[in-house]
Structure formats: C-alpha cells, structure tokens
C-alpha cells in the first residue's frame, strides 16, 4: 500500500532540517531555541520539586528516550527496521552489571564500554542484515530479540542465569547535596543531552544526508557515490550504541538485571514508543518514551481489570490523532505558527519535497515496515 500523502509528510519533516527559507526559518529557529532553553531549565530544576519516586520515573523516561532515539536513527532516518533492539539494550545492561559487580570497574566507564560494544555488535549485525529488506529484516532482528533471554540463561557463568545480577546503585559523588535518585536523574539527563546533541550533529551533517539519501532512494544514493553498505551497517551500529547505553543506564537505575527483562515484548515496546513519538525525529524519542513509561501506569489507574485494553485504546487513539507521531503533529503546529502567508507555505512544500523520489512511498520508513514488494 503506497501512501504518497503521508509519506510526503515524513519527508517534509526530515528534509525541513536543511530546507532554506530565510524569514520563516529564523522564526522557527527562534521558537525552537526558546523552547529548548526553557525545557532545559525546567528539566534541571524539576527533581527538586519531585519525590524520589517521580525522579525515578523521569529517569526511566530519559533512559527509554535514549533507546528510542537509537531506533529513530535507524528507522526514521535510514529506513531500516528493527524489532530486536531489546537485544542491544540487554547487551548494554549486562555489560554494566558484569563489569561493576565482577571486576569492580567504576560504572562511568562501563557506560562507555557498553556503548562501544553495542556499536561493534550493531555494526557486525548490520552487515548480514544488509541482505534483508522490510519484513525479512524485521524477522532477522526479531530473532535476535527472541533469542536474547535464552542466550542470557545459557551463559549463566557470566550472567548469573535466570537469577540475574544485583548491582549497587551509583552513589552520589563529590558530596553533592542531592540524593541517589536525584543523582541518577541528572546523570541520565546529562547523558541524554550529550547523545541528543551528537545525534543532531550527525544527522544534519554529511553522514546524516547520506543516511537519509539511502532511505529516500538507495539506488540514487549509490549512484551519487554513497557507500550504501557501509552507511547502513554504520547506522545500525550507531543505533545499537544508543540503545546499549540506555541499557547500561537502565541496569544502574534499577540495580538489577535478569533475562526476563529482555523479552520480545521489550523490543515491541520500543517500536511502539518510537512510532508514537514520531520516527523521523530526534525530539520525538522523548515523547515516545513518556508514552511507554506513563500510559501503562495510568491505564492501571483507570481499569484494574483490564489495563492493557485501556493501553490499546489509547495507542489506537494516538495513532488516529497523530498518524505521524507526536513530533509530526508538533511540527505541523509549529509550521502553522511560524508561517502565516499561505502562498509561502505552498512554495515551501515544493522545496521540501523536491529531494523525495518520484514515488515517495517507495523507500520511506513506511515501506520498511511493510516490506512491500512491487
């Protein structure tokens, strides 16, 4: 099913990053900057007004957001697809768990090691995955997610088997006047900001352009001299790195890892978060993370009997209202706000969609999901 109208929306949004439109763009940039700074101030002051439990909830949101950003880079910006990022989340988590408990390595280093390991693992997995497209890639990655708990149980000398590993929660350094939960909040928030910044830099530069070119039209990209194989594997690696770092932080936040955490449901949950937030967006990852963290909890408040029915209904309603995710909706709202003259807007659309191929749906992420062959 090819869906030109909506695929165009995705392209508009992503290509908007580099579209040049003098007056409107500066407006939009100003708006975004103000919003960003305000958000940052709120984010850093927030834990002071929160209970420890709420600080922990937000910590979880940040961790999910990092993982989802990894997925967005892969799906939204590169048109590849993964139902298996739970595996990289597990790899990151176990890296930290094993290194801190067995070898007493400070946790800070283990976060970096987790990222590097996942980068390599993702790259290596990305190489054979090049052969797969659409549904077949979905299965290849899903296989990874399914095997994870079994593999973790199998190597029980390392992983503690089904008993899992209990970690120590990071203690507050330098005698800072905050408690452990607040410290974790700031730690994850800072890592999140660094990684978001990195993603932003990566995506708006040469690498990002190459990634998106592959997504929009692989053959044209190849013809223009982009090494598709290299870039696709590399994207897989970077994506896995993000998710792995999230896993590492997740292990620290909960102070416990066990195979049951990393089941196939986790990977599907990531996908849900990614789509709800908006796949071709950096900031969307945060919305998606908030969705998968809070909606199940509030669903329970509404109905004790069948909370997941509530979750399903909310998910479906979200998709009705925001078929391109929260970020997609925000983008449209922002566009409305920043450019009033309607003539300009239609001109903009032409600019923005021109890089898209003749059949915009053909290689868009939407297609990655369907694995449609024509």
């Amino acid at each position: 099913m090819q869906l030109p109208a909506s695929a165009k929306e995705i392209d508009t949004r992503t290509t908007g990053l580099r579209a040049t439109r003098p007056a409107a763009a500066s407006h939009a940039r100003l708006w975004k900057l103000v919003g960003l700074i305000l958000t940052l101030i709120v984010a850093y002051l927030l834990p002071l007004g929160l209970s420890n439990y709420q600080a922990f909830e937000f910590t979880q949101v940040f961790i999910y957001a990092i993982a989802l950003l990894g997925l967005n880079i892969l799906i939204g910006f590169n048109g590849q697809f993964s139902l298996g990022h739970g595996a990289f989340y597990a790899l990151g988590a176990y890296t930290t768990a094993i290194m801190t408990t067995r070898w007493d390595i400070p946790y800070g280093w283990t976060i970096i090691v987790a990222g590097v390991l996942c980068l390599i693992a993702g790259f290596l997995f990305g190489l054979p995955a090049l052969r797969f497209e659409g549904l077949y890639l979905a299965l290849a990655t899903f296989a990874l997610a399914l095997s994870t708990p079994q593999i973790l149980k199998y190597f029980d000398n390392w992983t503690g088997g089904s008993q899992g590993i209990v970690l120590d929660k990071p203690s507050v350094p330098l005698g800072l006047p905050i408690n452990a939960d607040q410290y974790l909040y700031y730690l994850t928030l800072t890592v999140l900001l660094l990684l978001f910044l990195l993603a932003w830099n990566l995506l708006r530069g040469r690498v990002g352009r190459a990634m998106m070119a592959i997504r929009d039209n692989p053959i044209a990209a190849e013809a223009m001299g982009v090494n598709n194989a290299l870039y696709k594997s590399l994207t897989f690696g970077v994506s896995a790195m993000y998710t792995g770092i999230a896993g590492s932080l997740g292990a620290l936040a909960v102070a416990f890892v066990a195979p049951d955490t990393f089941n196939a449901f986790l990977s599907i949950n990531f996908l849900v978060g990614s789509v709800v937030g908006g796949i071709a967006s950096i900031i969307g990852a945060l919305f998606g993370a908030a969705f998968i963290e809070f909606v199940p909890i509030y669903a329970q408040e509404i109905s004790r009997a069948a909370p997941w029915a509530i979750f399903g209904v909310v998910l479906i309603l979200f998709m009705y209202v925001m078929p391109t995710g929260v970020a997609g909706l925000l983008h449209r709202v922002l566009e409305r706000l920043t450019r009033r003259p309607s003539k300009e807007s239609s001109a903009d659309n032409v600019v923005a969609t021109s890089p898209a191929p003749a059949d915009p749906g053909a290689s868009s992420p939407a297609r990655a999901a369907s694995g449609k062959h024509e």
Binding site: Q60, G164, N179, V254, F256, I297
Partner: protein
C-alpha cells in the same frame, strides 16, 4: 540574583530531605485503614498467576466486610508488573514512596522479587509472604525484611528424590523443566535429594521455554531415553500437554508432577483423567475439585467466598485456594500486631506464627515461623491420582529447606 537562585535551590533540596526523613513514622496506617501493597503479573507471560492475588484481594474485601482488623479496614493496592523485574521495582517504589503502604504482600515471581529484595531490606519495608518457591527467601540474617510462604521448590524436589530412592529400586529418571529459576530450583532439589546417585539415575533432562508452542519433542526424547520415572516440572498448560503426549505415545512411567500444576480441574482434566492416573504430587492444600473435600466445611466456606467475592474467578483453580490461604496468613499477622502496626512489629509477628492452622491447608499441616525460621509452610504429603482424586499416602514430610541445612 545568582545567590538567590542558589539559596532557593538549597532550600528546596533541604525540604526534600526533611520530607524524606520525616516520612517514616507509621507508614500506611491510620485509625481506620491499613494500606497493603502488591505487585503481580496481571498481564504478560505469567498472567495465569495473576488470579492468586485477585483471590487474595477478594479475601481482604471479605475481611473488611466483616469489620476489618481491630477496627481497621485493609486497603489493598495491587499493581501489574507484567512479570518484568524493572517494572516490579518501579511499581514497588510507587507503593512504598507514593502510596505509603505499610508492607508489600505476596509480590509474585522469583526474578521480580529479586529485583526489589535489596530495596525492601535497605528501606526496612516488610516484603511478606513473597509468592515464589525459591529457597533464597528464608534468609533472616541477610534479609530480615523478606519472607516466603509456600514450601520451597527445592524442598518439593528433595521429597520426590527421597521417595524415588526408597521406593523405586531401578529408577531411570527423565526430567522436563521450565528453563528459568523456577525450573532450576526444582532441579537442584531433585539433585540434592538424589545426592551422589543423581548421575546414575538421571538418564535425560529436557527443558522448554514459556514461549514454546508444545513440549511434544521433549516428551518423545524422554520416552526414547528409556526413562521409567518422569519428573514433570512445568506450569499448568505445559503440564497438561506433557501428560497427554506421554500417554498418546504410549509412555507409562511413574510420574511426579509439581504442585504448581497439581490442580485436578485445570491440569489433569484437560490432560485426560485416564492419562493422569498414577501421577504423584506433593500437596499441602485441599483441592476443591477433589471429591474427598466435597463435604468439608472449610472447603464449602471457601467456595461460598469465591462465589460471593470473586465470582469471575474459577473456585476450582488451586491458585485461588493458594491466594486465599496466603491472605489468611497475612490477616493473622496483622491481628497479632494489635495496635502496634509499625513495620518492625509486623516482621516480629510474621516471625512469630505458632502452629497456625488454615482452613484450606491439608489436615496436619501447620504454619510455623520464628526469628530464625523464615519458611512458613514446610510440610507436604504425597498423593497419587487415582483417576478421580489424590489418594494421600505416606507420612507428612517436613522438608529441610536449603537455607537451614
């Protein structure tokens, strides 16, 4: 300006600290209420167990209807954790820090309880009657705030092994177990019970995953190994499949079935009563579908309770009997606490249960705890299924739980 901000921040931080440090007195108890928390898998792969805590919640409603405990009503807050340890941790923190519960009652699942084990003990919040049979919960020295309830998986495996050594001279044992902590705990009980004979007697071990569609292949392998004893360590659905498949392919070993799946109505009937004949199981609860208890007043009362307070639940599901009994244990502890409903006293009373008889425990089985004995139920009796009910035989075994050896 900057100084102002710094001052503001410091003031905020300080109030936070005060709020935290003052929050501890008499958590979860008012003149009219006792707040009890719980996490259980109402969704996800282990959702079959969710009914245990629904039955327990229903029992608390009954207690409230009858006037509560020393004039206080029980407020039972039970959250779904989908059997995911991080979720358990999160929801438990919500219970403790946001809902301010007095204690966490019957959190379900070994990995889930492992995830909150340290947290509960660090924060000195009772983690009482955890719903898992792992043997590590009876550790009063290392984890004084955590206590189990049911007989340990290890103990049950141990009892089977002893029975096999004494009664089946040329046993060749085939084992099917779920590939997780629950299965492995049973397995270790069997291995410990068999001692150095384990290597000779066990001819084949097979595992399955909860996501598997069937266990047919494993049963075929066990049959082909020539085993004449089949130890079936599986959850209800797989237990029923295993029993039926063994029967279909003409394998007739002596079968041992873990009590998790010993239910007549939800396992043996689906598997086929004929196929289930001869199955041996260690039991400690009255199975309401066993005709022996049809006229037992306690069983009748239980059935009436189910009909009234949990009509959507299946009264013949042994899980519900279990949740009902576990909740009764909790109520007993709270009654014993009297008016001193501090967390410390709750633990003192939980470790001070003397010969407690519960209506749905098998006659002769009692609950005992002490400051050094954190294993409430340690007795079981073997029963052999005769096509209609479990024919109890042999002594009541008092299992040596591993923590105490």
């Amino acid at each position: 300006m900057l100084r102002k901000i710094v001052n503001l921040v410091l003031a905020l931080v300080l109030t936070q600290f005060l709020a935290v440090s003052l929050g501890h007195a008499e958590e979860g108890v008012t003149a009219t209420e006792i707040k009890i928390g719980n996490t259980a898998p109402y969704s996800g792969p282990a959702s079959a167990y969710g009914t245990i805590l629904r039955a327990a919640g229903a029992y608390f409603r009954k207690v409230n209807d009858e006037g509560g405990i020393n004039g206080r009503k029980i407020v039972f807050i039970s959250y779904d954790d989908g059997y995911s340890p991080p979720k358990t941790y999160e929801m438990t923190r919500k219970l403790v820090e946001q809902d301010h519960v007095l204690l966490d009652f019957g959190p379900l699942g070994t990995p889930c309880n492992s995830a909150i084990w340290k947290y509960m003990n660090d924060h000195k919040v009772p983690q009482l009657f955890v719903y898992t049979g792992a043997s590590k919960w009876g550790d009063p020295k290392g984890h004084p705030w955590t206590m189990g309830w049911q007989p340990t998986y290890h103990a049950e495996g141990f009892i089977w092994a002893r029975y096999i050594l004494d009664n089946i001279p040329n046993a060749k044992i085939g084992i099917l177990y779920q590939n997780d902590d629950y299965g492995k705990d049973y397995l270790s009980g069997v291995l410990d019970g068999l001692g150095n004979k384990a290597r000779d007697l066990i001819v084949k071990q097979q595992t399955y995953e909860v996501t598997d569609a069937t266990v047919d292949s494993q049963i075929v392998n066990l049959k082909n190994s020539g085993a004449n004893v089949f130890i079936n360590i599986t959850t209800p659905k797989f237990a029923a499949m295993a029993i039926r498949k063994a029967y279909e392919i003409g394998w007739r070993p002596t079968q041992f079935l873990n009590f998790v799946s010993a239910s007549i109505s939800s396992v043996l009937k689906p598997a086929g009563l004929e196929a289930s004949k001869g199955i041996i199981s260690a039991v400690f609860l009255k199975d309401p579908s066993d005709p022996r208890w049809a006229n037992d007043p306690a069983t009748k009362e239980y059935i009436a309770f189910m009909r009234k307070y949990y009509p959507e639940g299946d009264p013949y599901d042994i899980f519900n009997v279990s949740g009902y009994s576990c909740a009764q244990t909790m109520v007993q502890v709270l009654k014993q606490c009297g008016n001193d409903l501090s967390r410390a006293n709750v633990m003192r009373q939980a470790a001070n249960l003397r010969n407690l008889q519960l209506p749905m425990l098998l006659p002769g089985i009692v609950i005992n705890t002490s400051p050094t004995d954190y294993y409430p139920i340690e007795q079981m009796q073997l029963g052999r299924f005769d096509g209609q009910r479990y024919e109890l035989f042999g002594p009541i075994y008092t299992a040596v739980s591993r923590g105490k050896q």
